[in-house]
Symmetry: D2
Subunit: 289 residues, 4 copies
Amino acid sequence: TIEHIFKEIFKAGLELQEDDHRKALLVSRKKQPENTVIRIKGIEIGNGKKHHVFGPCAVESYEQTAQVAKSVKEKGLKLLRGGAFKPRTSPYDFQGLGVEGLEILKRVADEYDLAVVSEIVTPKDLEIAVDYVDVIQIGARNMQNFELLKAAGQIDKPILLKRGLSATISEFINAAEYIISRGNGNIILCERGIRTYETATRNTLDISAVPVLKKETHLPIMVDVTHSTGRRDLLLPAAKAALAIGADGIMAEVHPDPAVALSDSAQQMDIPTFDKFYEELTDLERRLG
Amino acid sequence: TIEHIFKEIFKAGLELQEDDHRKALLVSRKKQPENTVIRIKGIEIGNGKKHHVFGPCAVESYEQTAQVAKSVKEKGLKLLRGGAFKPRTSPYDFQGLGVEGLEILKRVADEYDLAVVSEIVTPKDLEIAVDYVDVIQIGARNMQNFELLKAAGQIDKPILLKRGLSATISEFINAAEYIISRGNGNIILCERGIRTYETATRNTLDISAVPVLKKETHLPIMVDVTHSTGRRDLLLPAAKAALAIGADGIMAEVHPDPAVALSDSAQQMDIPTFDKFYEELTDLERRLG
Amino acid sequence: TIEHIFKEIFKAGLELQEDDHRKALLVSRKKQPENTVIRIKGIEIGNGKKHHVFGPCAVESYEQTAQVAKSVKEKGLKLLRGGAFKPRTSPYDFQGLGVEGLEILKRVADEYDLAVVSEIVTPKDLEIAVDYVDVIQIGARNMQNFELLKAAGQIDKPILLKRGLSATISEFINAAEYIISRGNGNIILCERGIRTYETATRNTLDISAVPVLKKETHLPIMVDVTHSTGRRDLLLPAAKAALAIGADGIMAEVHPDPAVALSDSAQQMDIPTFDKFYEELTDLERRLG
Amino acid sequence: TIEHIFKEIFKAGLELQEDDHRKALLVSRKKQPENTVIRIKGIEIGNGKKHHVFGPCAVESYEQTAQVAKSVKEKGLKLLRGGAFKPRTSPYDFQGLGVEGLEILKRVADEYDLAVVSEIVTPKDLEIAVDYVDVIQIGARNMQNFELLKAAGQIDKPILLKRGLSATISEFINAAEYIISRGNGNIILCERGIRTYETATRNTLDISAVPVLKKETHLPIMVDVTHSTGRRDLLLPAAKAALAIGADGIMAEVHPDPAVALSDSAQQMDIPTFDKFYEELTDLERRLG
């Protein structure tokens, strides 16, 4: 019938239009079928092997950071996270040590031969940060801080871009496109849970986002199990699910003494918990092959 | 200081109150630390071994159902799903074959020695259904149809209870409590995605719900990967995540010819896809040990 | 260009398809441009004049119900609500007085010459309810209890249909279509807030749903300010917004002594608060003309 | 009983703690019971009288902006909005004219004796903007761009702060606190809809946020009906609800020729629609008294 033919034309048009749009994006797998592989201090992220990021929520002191770095190093890992600039809901909460925090991170990273991942929250700090940091993190609250994204696109450092608090996958992809469109294609995407009505977890880990992003883009994907669950008892199960579904790595927070942490004390692992967590994680990695 | 002491009393009170409440629930792990194990046709759900549920969205004919049953049987599986009563958004969509559908399911199940899982949507149909069905499914839209829950609590058949479209985990647990409080403790919980703002998937699979429910209750948990993702290309990744995080089994829809299916045509697997899906799923099961 | 023409065809197709679909619905304004007007005990709902529904959350006793009825009557109002069958999250919460509650409502309504609005939660109770109740309420949790909707479509009583906890407007319209498609077109729609991440209010009142539903359907629309806000201090502001945006009436809960109410004690108005509330509401009605 | 007493202590503690926290905030009504009144070009926002903000989504040219300004001026209004820096989901969408846009706004505002409201998206542009703009807008995507908030707190211009895409009311209040804590208390809050699962409207207008914010803070509240509804046919109903519930003013987008607008073409009003909209709005204002 005429109607049927019309419907077919209609559907074809819909697909064509969507195809066109996605093909245009530089981050899309249609544009580049092979995975982007990011090289940092001798490791390669995105080539199939898993690489994880651990470290304290916030850098509080040299000692605190060094203790975690030592534990990271002993596991044969390379990536250390730590917050120097902390975006906090209240202006009266601890806002991070700033440049002093970056200095501590750099010193510790040099001593333990690690690469540093740290969040930058405003364009002007990017210039300073490149001297201290190996991977610039752009946090959930800044995923649509477009001026920061543009600036991040103009530096020569890998960017770890976190999904916004309630960003759609499409908005997340477009945020990455802001960075790559300015010249910097070394982008790691990081799923960190989305805001929903559920309160049993801090956010709702959108685990399906991992295969969707893998299909739509050629970028590596990590999963932040700390902020997505907000519960220490869920870090390991969430990490297992992330590895099984194909994430390139896990991000989680570790603190020598979470009870006295200046931020996120309820969800950071202490060192012994971290040891156990990592043992089970690597056991799963071996099984998954 | 006084303030500090007060805060501690306060926190203790908070925990005490929550403890009390959860201890009171019959489904809670505090009430019964060991897992509930449900026996159906010689298999045991909840004892650690995985058991999956496959079958068409809706029973459309004997032939269609038998084709899927044959494929399920050949895999050594025991559980066949199929909808006879279909809750549909529009009154003009196919509403299922009703009792005729149950008859087909029973005939096919007998021929292939399978157990049948089928949804019942209203109390009065429960009486009929017990003669045809081995596991009564209560669907997402009826998770708070409390009269149906009460009636399900009074029959002697296992219940597969799906999480509501936007039910909190706490509401989900209370829905199961309606059933057990009337005497029927053979309940399988099923996470099937929750409603969020994200549109890349039909619903958002709340994978963290699995360990949360495992911790809070002693009931087996399955994950419906068909309704949570709504995308054929995400069924396998989602199923892998579900197994890795500790689900007792996977539920997914299989149809001999999805393109002509009377419902959910975009997300059912055809038989060859099902074969491949199952092969990869069992490979993962072996690896996970 | 060819592309442009194609796009225009495409857009035309999209609109055509949507048009067709909506035109098909019996509740749609395309099917019936003029408002449906529902006659209950001499009042007409849907003809432009406002009619409100007040009463206790649950019927607890004759005295409690009569006190509220007296206050409703004194205001010249006609519609009294009261719950006899209460859907509650926990099986251990007060579930309503059932048929005894309906008897109390009927007795009080006869004494004060009021029409009764009361919720029915399962098909079999509908048969009993028609002897006691003037308007059958179908609650949020049952908006997609399709067997209940079908049964409600076969009786000769107006139905007040509440929007589901997280139903889309399109699903809400289709739920009403279930009722009208079975023959009963006397349907009042009721917006009662939707589930979101926001916790300052019990639900989020989707005030825009009122004009959307007015445009899409020919049915009267009420706004339940009690369940949407869950806060006594927001009942009046929410009611003002609802009237200004074009709702046909307000629904709110009133209890002689909210502090001892068996359900929803935090959000019901006591009689003096109700008097003040109604005074300000009618003042606004006069101003709006 | 002991338990009861303990519960009472517990509740008292809960309230005390919340009280303390809120009292501490400079924006809270507990800190300052009387309304903040903001003076701009001879008008006073926050003193009870309504003041509205109209103008194009983006400044595209002198002519386009002047046409709208003329219409605003003729209505006796004082506030003209227009975007020079446009945060857009895709890097390939029109990003605004930047400083050139500010120059156009300034020229037009001077000619028509209007005050300009325009969005600034990054701290360094604030210094330039103060020479051109009367009210600095901080947009939804930047509500938790804390460096921008801190910078806005250090200038001597009123700030119009929009609620984030899915910010809680508590986060919104804390964002305002970032500004006031640096010294700038001239803040107008603007509800602009929140992200939910509903797709009938672009966002869900959280109308209850207006009385909640009025109660919790001493700041003026406006409602952006354009971005909350995203539908031209809902602008007037939403504006009526906003006025009735107590908003201090309405914000809406007006464009001489929406069909060719470089952004948001589907939701801006043309001048005749604006005339009619404003007529009905002022009629309601007169009625509300």
